[in-house]
Each structure stands twice: as structure tokens, then as C-alpha cells.
């Protein structure tokens, strides 16, 4: 059974107050994805943000380069929170996975209605995005 204070285990939500966690808990849904299945398809409409709870995922980019994720709390599908309307990578489950999912519209509405919560979460998302940019930069350097 998923409890709202479980969210605090994850880096993205660590700094949140209990009341803020409670609001988030109302829009979160646990989902399961089976081994070998595609969780996110590149180019598909970005409608959900995922957070890994358990399992092993592979994120595949356009040229078949990939990274593997297994740490609980890793965020996937952050395109759903930006102006991009499509996912930029494909995500495949290497093992059976359990994830938390947030509908982008619900999450954006919540962040829009609560400035403090929005700032905290967007700061974390910005950090994830900068890591992604570092990865892309590395790719471009290698191609040169």
C-alpha cells in the first residue's frame, strides 16, 4: 500500500512539507510495467511523469545510445512538465518495474496553484534536466 509520506524517500520530494506531500499524494498513481515492455515511446504525447520505485529501466535515445536506471526515485518523462509535447526517448523495462505516475495536467495544475510547491519541484526538475544536457553534450563531443 502506497502512503503519502513514502514520497519523502525520493530526492525530488525530500524538501516538501507534509501538507504539500498530501496534495501530491492525491494525484499520484502506482503502476506496474512488465519486463521487456515499452513504458514510454519516443514521439508519443508526453502526458505523464513517472518516478521509479522498484526495478530496472533502460532509456533509449534516437541513435540507440542508452542509459540504465535502477535507483528508486529516478524521474522519467519530464517532457510532460515542459513545453515539449512529446517524449524525447524510449523507456523499456529490463525487469518488472513499479513506478509512481503523475498525470501532467494534474501536476501542472497543482504546481500552478501552489507557488512554493511549484518552485521546489521545478528546481529539482531543472537539476535533472541539466544532467540530461550534460549527457547530450557528451554525446555531441563523441560524435565530433
Amino acid at each position: 500500500m502506497f502512503e503519502f509520506f513514502d514520497l519523502r524517500k525520493y530526492d525530488v520530494f525530500r524538501d516538501l512539507e507534509l501538507a504539500e506531500l498530501w496534495r501530491l499524494q492525491r494525484i499520484v498513481q502506482p503502476v506496474h510495467c512488465l519486463e521487456g515492455r515499452v513504458l514510454i515511446k519516443e514521439g508519443a504525447p508526453a502526458q505523464r511523469l513517472y518516478m521509479l520505485q522498484e526495478g530496472h529501466l533502460m532509456v533509449v535515445f534516437k541513435d540507440d545510445r542508452a542509459i540504465c536506471l535502477h535507483e528508486p526515485g529516478r524521474v522519467i518523462g519530464w517532457s510532460a512538465l515542459t513545453s515539449e509535447s512529446q517524449y524525447t526517448a524510449t523507456v523499456v523495462c529490463l525487469t518488472d518495474c513499479t513506478l509512481l505516475t503523475f498525470e501532467a495536467n494534474d501536476l501542472l495544475s497543482l504546481l500552478g496553484s501552489n507557488a512554493a510547491l511549484g518552485t521546489k519541484i521545478m528546481n529539482k526538475i531543472a537539476r535533472i534536466r541539466s544532467n540530461r544536457l550534460r549527457f547530450l553534450h557528451q554525446q555531441m563531443t563523441d560524435i565530433k
Binding site: 519486463e35 521487456g36 530496472h56 540507440d64 542508452a66 540504465c68 535502477h70 523499456v92 525487469t95 563523441d142
Partner: protein, 145 residues
């Protein structure tokens, strides 16, 4: 027609009791079966996770694929019989170069009938035999002797 005497003379009471016993025995057996089914499924799931079932399935599949003419496939299958899946995957990745792209290896593994390639790769990543760089490419660690 409903004379109790006729019922007694025809062993009606005995038959009624026998019928009740049969029905209730059936229900008890059915409920026991349902109770045990959870344990049976849990046991089966454990077998699947431990890799016994995938190993058996893989072995059967490999037997079926032995007739393939591709040299690489034969070599891979022989390796699978002789050693293990890691050796097969290492062989398959030889044609991809070093470092290689993991999705390409998974496609090859699927093509050559390696059972549960995603799970196998995740195990290899966990035990450190296979590792990925920040450039999105993967390479094998040296075989431990």
C-alpha cells in the same frame, strides 16, 4: 406419492445422506484447492524468478534453433549449451564492436533465441559484468578467472 413409508422402504434417507456427503465433500475439496492455489502460484512465481523455468524454456528453444544455418547462431548456441547466457551475449556483441549499443545487443539476443534478454542484461549490469558509460555505450568487464 410423498408417503414417508415409501421413502423409508426405498432407502431414501440413506440416499439423501449420501447425496449430502458427496456434495459437501466436493465443496470441501474445491475450497481446499482454492486455498492451495495461492501457494501453488507463489511457488511457480519463485521458480520463474529463480530462472529455472526460463532456463528450461531457453534450452528447449535452443534445441529447436539448432538447425539454423547461420554460423554465428550455431556458435552462440553451442556456447549457450556449454557455458551460460553471458558467454552467448559476449559472443553476440562481438559483431557490434566495443563499446556497443545495448538496444542492438538486445535485438540480437532476441533474434537468436536467448530467453528473457532484458532480464539477463539487468542481471549482468547488477553483477558488474556489463557496464555503461555516460556516452550511452556499453562494454564488458574482463572475465574473472
Amino acid at each position: 406419492m410423498n408417503d414417508p413409508v415409501n421413502m423409508t422402504l426405498s432407502d431414501g434417507c440413506f440416499m439423501a445422506v449420501l447425496g449430502i456427503c458427496i456434495v459437501f465433500s466436493g465443496l470441501v475439496l474445491l475450497s481446499l484447492g482454492i486455498c492451495l492455489s495461492a501457494r501453488l502460484l507463489a511457488w511457480w512465481e519463485t521458480r520463474v524468478k529463480d530462472g529455472v523455468v526460463p532456463y528450461l524454456r531457453g534450452a528447449l528453444k535452443r534445441e529447436g534453433l539448432k538447425g539454423m544455418s547461420t554460423g554465428l547462431a550455431e556458435q552462440t548456441l553451442q556456447d549457450a549449451d556449454a557455458t551460460d547466457v553471458e558467454t552467448s551475449l559476449r559472443r553476440l556483441s562481438d559483431q557490434l564492436g566495443d563499446p556497443f549499443k545495448l538496444p542492438e545487443l538486445l535485438r540480437l539476443a532476441d533474434k537468436y533465441g536467448i530467453e528473457r534478454p532484458h532480464w539477463q542484461v539487468s542481471q549482468l549490469l547488477r553483477n558488474g559484468s556489463l557496464s555503461g558509460g555516460t556516452d550511452g555505450l556499453f562494454h564488458w568487464q574482463a572475465v574473472k578467472k
